[in-house]
């Protein structure tokens, strides 16, 4: 049963893909509650169906078992309450920073002046003021990801869903951007759901972390992170932080090595040309 402050619920989610080597269960019977205003991370080894789950919750993937509800309402397809930030670079290269961020406002039919004001607010929020009229091609990877973040925030989603948004960035930029996201989350009291394979990132940001198993992706354990807020990347050095990281790595190691073995076997069969 969902708690009273649950804003998003994914219930008994199952996703099966047909491949040439038979069906693969990407996600199996996974249930997840996201509470209003919390930062929840989903962590798991590669191939555990994290991104599949992201697509299910974001409404980009159909044909799954179970259901996704937002504030009690079952959703099918993309929903305006859910804003998505993607792993790959997803800014529109033909639009300036401000026009990128104003994109959802333009769709909502806002007047030009009003949406410029709103867009500027979100550009400032992600710390890109002064870059309004630049094109993404003129910015660094980290800055472009912040443009994507601002664009999604501008649509004022109830839940911000992020799929490894900083995976392509270097570790230092990633930590600093993590700070930025935390700051924004605290400022807006934004509910955030982060998909990641990075333990440090997950512990740095989250109130709770869901650890997933390797294929089929199931919920292995839900870890509450009782670190003080407001947080910043400085917390990375603390003893409590280290304990959480170790604890989660303990859970993950088994899954990750299972994944690795599986991949090795797969590669072996393919190279020897034999049947699985």
């Amino acid at each position: 049963m969902a708690a009273a402050d649950t804003i998003l619920r994914a219930e008994n989610i199952g996703v099966r893909f047909e491949t040439s080597e038979g069906p693969v269960f990407a996600v199996d019977d996974l249930t997840l509650d996201v509470r209003q205003g919390e930062f929840l991370s989903i962590i798991g080894p590669s191939g555990c169906g994290k991104s599949t789950l992201f697509n299910v919750i974001g409404g980009l993937l159909g044909g799954y078992q179970g259901r996704v509800t937002v504030a009690g309402e079952t959703i099918a397809g993309p929903h305006k309450a859910i804003g998505m930030v993607f792993q790959e670079e997803s800014t529109f290269p033909w639009r300036t920073v401000i026009d990128n961020v104003a994109f959802p406002l333009e769709l909502a039919g806002m007047t030009k002046q009003k949406r410029a004001e709103r867009a500027q607010h979100f550009i400032k929020l992600v710390g890109l003021d002064g870059f309004d009229n630049r094109y993404p091609g003129e910015l660094s990877g980290g800055m472009r990801q912040r443009v994507s973040l601002a664009r999604t925030l501008a649509s004022e989603p109830k839940i911000l869903l992020m799929d490894e948004p900083f995976a392509a960035l270097d570790e230092q930029t990633r930590l600093l951007l993590g700070d930025k996201v935390l700051q924004i989350q605290q400022q807006l009291r934004q509910t955030m759901l982060l998909i990641t394979h990075n333990i440090t990132e997950a512990v740095q940001m989250s109130d709770r972390i869901l650890v997933m198993t390797y294929r089929p992706g199931r919920a292995k354990r839900l870890v509450e992170i009782n670190l003080p807020r407001p947080r910043s990347s400085e917390i990375v050095g603390s003893e409590a932080f280290g304990r959480y990281v170790a604890e989660i790595w303990n859970d993950l190691r088994e899954e990750a090595s299972r994944g690795m073995r599986d991949e090795e076997e797969h590669a072996l069969h393919h190279h020897s040309g034999g049947a699985p």
Binding site: G59, L60, M84, F86, E89, S90, P93, W94, F103, Y135
Partner: protein, 256 residues
Amino acid sequence: MSGSAIARSNAAPKLLGFVSVLLFFAVIEAVIRAGWLNRYIVPPPSEILGSFYRIIAEEHVLRRFLFTTAECFAAGVMITVFGVGLGVLLQRYELLRRACETWVAALAAAPVVLAYPLFMVIFGRNAVTIVMIAFVAALPAVILKTIEGIAGTRRVLLNVGKSFNLTPAQQFWKIQFPAALPVIFTGLRLGLIFALINVVGVEFLINYGGLGQLIEDLAERYDLAGTYAAIFFVILVSVLFFMALERIERWLRPVD
């Protein structure tokens, strides 16, 4: 200004290009004057330069230049409207694309210009024939590049559109089309090259209209210096279109 400062400046490539061309002509001139090249096959550049006044004053090359430019412009507008339009249509309807793409690709390689008698029967010996042949010859490149550009839109950009709940029309106009523009412009550039070649070629073949006809006239009279000077104006048409196209592209997509 020091040597390295000149190399870094914006004017350097243009200057180098200009000097290279001058140098090339100087070498040709020297080779002809030395008698290593027959001046009745390749006229010396100085003679070509001297013939400019003649072809401007006596052969009305400027009027012909405008005529050829207008024909190219007409063909250019047509390949943009129909080429991009058909490309979009084929991209949108899978069955249609799979049915037609091979034929369009085959047409791209076909020497359409050889069908000029057919066009003359249909349209007469006039500018319409010239524009239509150029149009048909240039169309496939634009269609194929439009299909390629739209199909090549990055998946994540389409997902961004979906996540914002765009309608199919919005998805196309706000994401796929602008994302495809650089590739579409490559198609238009190719198309304009084909169009210009065909315009001048057909003018030459049917002895009608602008620069192509003039080149044919001058060559018939064995006025080689004049012929080369007229070819210079053909190049000018091409340069003009390329510059215009680049302007339009920069205006539509300022930075990539």
